[in-house]
Symmetry: C2
Subunit: 117 residues, 2 copies
DNA sequence: GTCAGGTACCATGCATGGCACAGTACCCGG
DNA sequence: CCGGGTACTGTGCCATGCATGGTACCTGAC
């Protein structure tokens, strides 16, 4: 067993719920710039405080994306260490990402509207 | 049985997941301006497209808020129709709302950061 | 060699929260 | 007294983040 990334011990309940349904699209967005593998995605997301997450979140998420045909994968040797599974956007993945980027601004402004009196 | 608010037949999967963990605080935010009852909250939220939801969402949510001590309620007669249960923020509710409004900007910008290349 | 430690991946089970569906109760007008 | 509108409640499903507990591979020290 390996303890998850050092950082903070995972955020509060609210953050966790916020990530639901967003993490998926953040991952898709990262893949827009080229193939990435699991741990790499985990670290890139973790670079932004509020998106810190764990392997227990990322891998099931990536499996779902693969199951739903939004990404494709291929194994590739690592220069040092075990082989890595690289994830890559499919056309469906691009479409899903575009749909989200279209919705997100509306959602964001809706929340702003209610939160800021 | 009563069909839910006319409007659209509920949005897509993505919207539904986005609402998770946000709806709760939108409701708290609305209560900041004074006591409101269930159907009223439902309509106010529904005025913003992306927040359209149903009784099946609102009432369990309100029950949770009450269970967790974030709101208090009192019954009040309606000028026409069955009595209404009015919801009101407790100190805990105010605190929870403030915590969320502190987190939300970070979250919003994190998503923007990833989504917009 | 072999073995400890780091890297990378995977599977199971839980809690949460939105939602569909179904039901109850009250009030009014005809 | 009864149909329709208003308002509230409960149950069960599903998706998702997360904790937990692995497995497998590689490298370097000894």
């Amino acid at each position: 067993m390996v303890p998850d990334i050092a950082g903070k011990p995972a955020a509060g309940k609210a953050e966790s719920q916020l990530r639901k349904g967003v993490l998926e699209y953040c991952v898709l967005a990262l893949l827009r710039e080229g193939p990435r593998y699991g741990v790499e995605l985990l670290e890139t997301l973790g670079a932004v405080n509020v998106m810190v997450t764990s392997q227990g979140t990322i891998y099931p998420l990536l499996s779902r994306l693969r199951r739903d045909g939004l990404v494709e994968t291929r194994w590739q040797e690592s220069p040092s260490g075990p082989p890595r599974r690289y994830y890559e956007l499919t056309p469906s993945g691009h479409t899903a990402l575009k749909e989200f980027t279209a919705i997100w601004p509306h959602f964001r402004e809706a929340v702003d509207h209610f939160i800021t009196d």
